[in-house]
């Protein structure tokens, strides 16, 4: 089953997302707490997919996305957004994000988006 890297500064958000993904049969390759850590772990773990929260300290999700896509143009990146981050979403599309998941998480939406991106 696909391996997923979760990048989010919120422990709560990582935990809920992890439970949904593990429940759907995916393996969690690792977790990172900010964009910089997320980029380094992506290079180290080479997961099948990475979820990137947009609002994070140090490097935010958009900056981490740019670094990851520069390192691996085929990287499958799903952005995690609080609703309302329209401009950030436009930037994320521009930089190659595959999809978006909105908080608070709806398990069915999460599973649908992840499956769609992994099958693309």
């Amino acid at each position: 089953m696909a391996e997923i890297l979760i990048v989010d500064d919120s422990r709560t958000s990582r935990k809920i997302l992890k439970e949904i993904l593990v429940g759907a049969g995916y393996t969690i390759a690792g977790e990172a707490l900010d964009g910089e850590d997320g980029y380094l772990k992506y290079k180290e773990l080479k997961p099948d997919l990475v979820t990137l929260d947009i609002t994070m300290p140090k490097l935010d999700g958009i900056e981490a996305l740019q670094l990851i896509k520069k390192y691996d143009e085929n990287a499958r990146v799903v952005m995690i957004t609080a609703a309302g981050q329209k401009e950030k979403m436009i930037q994320a599309i521009k930089h190659g994000a595959a999809e978006f998941i909105s908080k608070p998480y709806e398990a069915d939406d999460v599973k649908e988006v992840i499956a769609k991106v992994l099958n693309s």
Partner: protein, 298 residues
């Protein structure tokens, strides 16, 4: 929300017990509000007339509304209007009170007159309250000249209703410069107006909110529990930013900050709305064009 507001008023005045109130909230989910109760609540017929129609119903095998029209108590138009109110939460609560034989709708309406007087509300305010519509109820709890806070507080209340406690209810909001607290989270949102929102509490007040939203039984309000409160703020502010974006206003969210060792929060001007969430009183705070600072415990 109206059930919580009315129910807590009845508890505070020793008219029902806390245990009975808990049972009523459960009963309310199951009840089908009777047309007669709505007609009495609306003042269209008396309780005696409703009882008379009920007795006739037992022997006529007809619906309440049909008998009421036939006997001239109500018009067809009135019956149709009453039928539309059958899903109303206030009336469902009133029906639960009757079903549990705690009080009749007429008695409840008498207590609501006391409520109206105690809270200095108009008849129109009472209609807003009974509508159970957050957008109509919230202004009743806001201080004068506080319209600029309404959108942020309304978003918070709706999000808490949906994600944490569908029986949350507010106390009167107020403007201040500081508020005591032991722990909490804040989030800064930058845009045309800089907005800071906070959720704070004393002792273990935030525990249940954190546990429900974080889907985890935290043993106490520690940093993990406050991370969950920060995430709740993040969701509230995301939705708030969405509503502003519909007016062409773009907002950027910053990562939430949280601390379990504060003495309070302060700002140049701060709106505080106390919220009762799962039996705990917490404070939601908003500052517009001013930042909120957490005062670290000495």
């Amino acid at each position: 929300m109206v059930s919580s507001i009315v129910g807590n008023y009845l508890v505070d005045h020793n008219l029902i017990s806390m245990e009975q109130f808990g049972d009523l909230l459960k009963e309310q989910q199951k009840v089908r509000v009777k047309l007669g109760l709505i007609a009495v609540a609306e003042g269209l017929i008396s309780q005696e007339e409703a009882d008379k129609i009920n007795r006739l119903q037992a022997v006529m095998d007809k619906r309440f509304g049909d008998i009421a029209v036939e006997k001239g108590f109500l018009t067809q138009g009135q019956v149709e209007a009453l039928l539309k109110k059958q899903g109303n939460a206030y009336l469902a609560f009133a029906q639960a009170l009757e079903n549990q034989q705690l009080m009749s709708i007429e008695q409840l309406e008498q207590y609501m007159i006391d409520f109206q007087r105690d809270y200095n509300l108009t008849i129109s305010d009472m209609e807003d309250l009974k509508s159970d519509d957050v957008d109509r109820i919230l202004p009743l709890y806001m201080p004068a000249d506080s319209d600029k806070y309404l959108n942020a507080v309304g978003t918070a209340l709706r999000t808490i209703l949906r994600c944490v406690d569908n029986n949350v209810y507010p106390e009167r909001a107020y403007i201040t410069k500081r508020c005591d607290a032991d722990n909490g989270a804040i989030q800064f949102v930058e845009g045309e107006h800089n907005v800071t929102c906070a959720m704070i509490g004393k002792g273990q007040a935030l525990l249940r909110t954190a546990s429900i939203f974080g889907k985890e039984d935290f043993p106490e309000v520690n940093m993990d529990a406050l991370d969950a409160i920060g995430e709740l703020l993040n969701c509230i502010n995301g939705l708030y930013a969405t509503s502003l974006s519909q007016s062409g206003i773009s907002m950027e969210l910053y990562p939430p900050e949280f601390s379990d060792k504060i003495s309070g929060i302060e700002s140049e001007e701060l709106l505080i709305i106390p919220l009762h969430i799962k039996g705990q009183k917490v404070e939601f705070a908003v500052a517009i064009d001013h930042k909120i600072k957490m005062e670290q415990e000495a």
